[in-house]
Amino acid sequence: MELALNQPAPLLKRLSWFDWLFSAIVAVGGLYTLSRFGEYMDIYEKGILLTAIPAISVFGWFWKPFRVLFIVVGAISLFSISQYQGNLARMEEAFFLKYLISSQAAIMWMCALFSLATLSYWAGLLSRSEFTLKTASILTWSAVTLGFIGLMVRWYESYLIGADVGHIPVSNLYEVFVLFCLITAMMYLYYEALYKTRQLGALVLLVITAAVGFILWYTFDRGAHEIQPLVPALKSWWMKLHVPANFIGYGSFSLSAMLGVGYLLADRGILASRLPKQEVIDDMMYKSIAIGFAFFTIATILGAMWAAEAWGGYWSWDPKETWALIVWLNYAAWLHIRLVKGLRGPMLAWWAVIGLFVTTFAFLGVNMFLSGLHSYGTL
């Protein structure tokens, strides 16, 4: 009788052997890292590493496909690292490294796969082909896998350049653009499975493809993919927290904007029969902005705490800080209107779309047009 009632079972009973295997792998990996490299870490970095073990475990339990992603990315990255044999020049000699899984090769594959996924989503949407849409999902997953491998290997490569050069690859505009693509894609894939609808991929992948276009231009025109040592201001454990948290925010705001586009298209009867119901899009949009807002809040607070340590004040009204505040105020207002007034419909969808422009300006425009303390990624 209890089963028929759908009573939630206690958490630990719900976990499968694979969940436990996953957690064991995460814990062993984390603890091995700590024992092997602990002497090069400060207390905060050790803290981050130790907290990451349960955090990744629980996240894997919560979102099951992440377990597979984590293990595959880990295994292939380790294979790639083993191919280097501690020698950077192997990048241009070893077959796997040269064509597939050196950092730059993997990231270029990610770019190609995201572009293919976009085409497939559109083909599937227009031809109402479930099979094509499924292919598009698989392509997106592959792109995410290769992108993460690219970042992991890049992390290792930076240490091969010099022990003092090595750092987590979230330190310049090129690296965070890759991160942006990955986070946006992962959040989309989560909602795709949750709402059992693949049609919106066509819209969401557009913003990722735009980022891919930027990465390619940035690589070929500006050579921005070169690994640079950190400037002293960035040499801090805060970077490991502040930057990813920010990009969860940016990623989900972009995602919600594209969902807003979907909502408005459906509202005008364009693709309406192909896209999911408007209330589904609306719900996704709300959830995406909610998670984005929560992480953007955390990211901004972490940024303030870092600024207090690096620049001597938690708030300096630096253009980047100010624009982060504007983005925050924008979505705070969005959530107020939606939650308190209970407003729905095209107005909020428009607002989410416009939010993308505000976010993009905060993310890119500030670096391009305004000068300030935050000048780590210039164009």
Partner: protein
Amino acid sequence: MNTPPHSFGKSVFELMSSMRFAISLLSILAIASIIGTVLKQAEPYNNYLIQLGPFWFEVYEKLGLYDVYQAAWFLLILAFLIVSVSVCITRNAPNFAREMKSFREHVTEQSLNAFKHKHEAATAHPPEALAASAQRYLEGQGYKVKNLPREGGVLLAAKAGSWNRLGYFLAHSSIVMILIGGLMDGNLIFKVQQILGYKIIETRDIPQSQVPAISRLTPSNPSFRGSVQIPEGSSADVAFLNVADGYLVQELPFTVGLKQFRIEHYTTGQPKSFESDLELFDHTGKKIREATIAVNHPLIHDGVAIYQASFADGGTRLTLRGWNLFSPSSEYFDVAGSVHQNTELTSAAGKYTIEFTDFRPFNIENMGGEVQPAGDTMSVLGGSPVSDKKHLRNVGPSFQYKLRDARGQALEFSNYMLPLELDGRWYLMSGVRGSPNDAFRYMRMPLDAGGDIDSFMRLRGVLLNAALRPEIAARFARQALPENAWNTEIEAKLKFSATQVLALFAEGGFQSLGKFIEDKVPAAEGEKAAGTYLRILELTAFEALQIANRQNGLPPPKVDDATGWLVRDTLNSMSDMFVYGAPVYLQLAQYDEVKASGLQLTRSPGKNVVYFGSLLLTLGVFFMLYVRERRVWLRIKPGHALLAMSSAKHTIDFEKEFLRHTQALDTLAK
């Protein structure tokens, strides 16, 4: 029907606590913030004056746009926001607290029937038994349940997610806390003192010790953010706060001494770390503390945080050779000076003041072209992420100075100590510019085989010496003509031409020669004449070099490529001399570096308030967004059960949950 008139106070309360008002304030705040990101803040007022012109400069100043975030109207918006949010909390908090506790047990069957989300089921179980199993079910779903006897049966009142309301309370009070913390760290106290006339901003450029008390802040000032530059081996007991178009002197509760400042570099030349070894003394001179600070690693003492903010030259002592560029001799004179100080220069060329502005021990320059990725796989991938920075090189020390003439006009110079290799040959470089917005234009002086500019200077001296011209011309003519043409008219003509070319060149370099040709030679033959003159100039210069070597007791120059280039480069360099803008070139012979560290000193009592507010904000946001408040009622009478559900937010999740509860009721009721 008359509505009772609202009192004024009540209307204000209503307005302040309305969400529309709060959202409007947020919008104004956002727009006002944008101004400060577009217009660069806290620049020297002169920059604004140049940028805006006198009229708009005045208007902008009145509006406080040069420091928007401290402007009275901006602070007023923040104050309004504090009031608005506080009023909103006081208005809603009691209600919300009641709601959190309440099970809403007074609902009637009739009102339950009016719910949009309701479900009825027939049951054979006695009401108490069904109530017990339903209560177990709801508790399993995370609800708090109250079992209430009602007429002819039972009412179950259940609620879940009450913390959502707590989230509202936390998030909104945290905003008030953060704003108050921020205002505590702002300069409100000073603003009030300024308005009342107790404090005045200092705008004069005078030594710190002469700044009067009215522009000084005592060590007890609760919050400040100032900066100070300390040379190695010195100390400071004040910091400077930049305010509007002037500054204030903040006295510190201790004295900071700088023992050493260090920069470490990566192998590629980029800076890796900036560190200062500090000593703190109390005002009796007793050492209290010793510490090393670095970027991201401040020192906190007595509530004052000391940050590594910048670095500069702290008065490096320079030993220089002064070359009088237009004197026909090759003698130099000695000059000594220190960075940030002036040296008077009285030379044949006139009276000048040298203002030494900076010294840099390293200069990392890009000395090569961009390397294109090769045409293989790597080029498809955009090339290796391992950058090829072999063309980045440290080209050694340089120093900068302004040379101000008697009329007060100044040009800025930047001279390298070591030679640079350009096109396979070595030169000493001296850059000059008229204003800080221009790029430096470089004069390059060729080195001789010994690696010095002495040969250049000697040749220059001889070429400028009018007395030597007949001899040079004679040597040149003899060299150029076959023996049978010696002592003929041709030789006389050639000598005349050579003297003329030398004289023209000594007057203004290639420009004078060019102008002469333009004026005197028909346009059709201009190019040919220029070629001839250039040839004559090079050959006479070679003869001049012979003389220069002889005068200095050196062997005659070899006839080879190196000598050829030395002569050509000397001529080019001399020609540049005429547009160099100064009659003197200062060559750096020796230096004794003194660095200075730029520290930022902050006391911010509001910091912890802001941090605590931030923590509450995070919790509040999560509660508000991720805890859903729901209520369920189950009215059970013999043979019949009525389920009703409500929530403030009717999301898809809510619909799903309602469906789950109805199915559960059907199962339990069976």
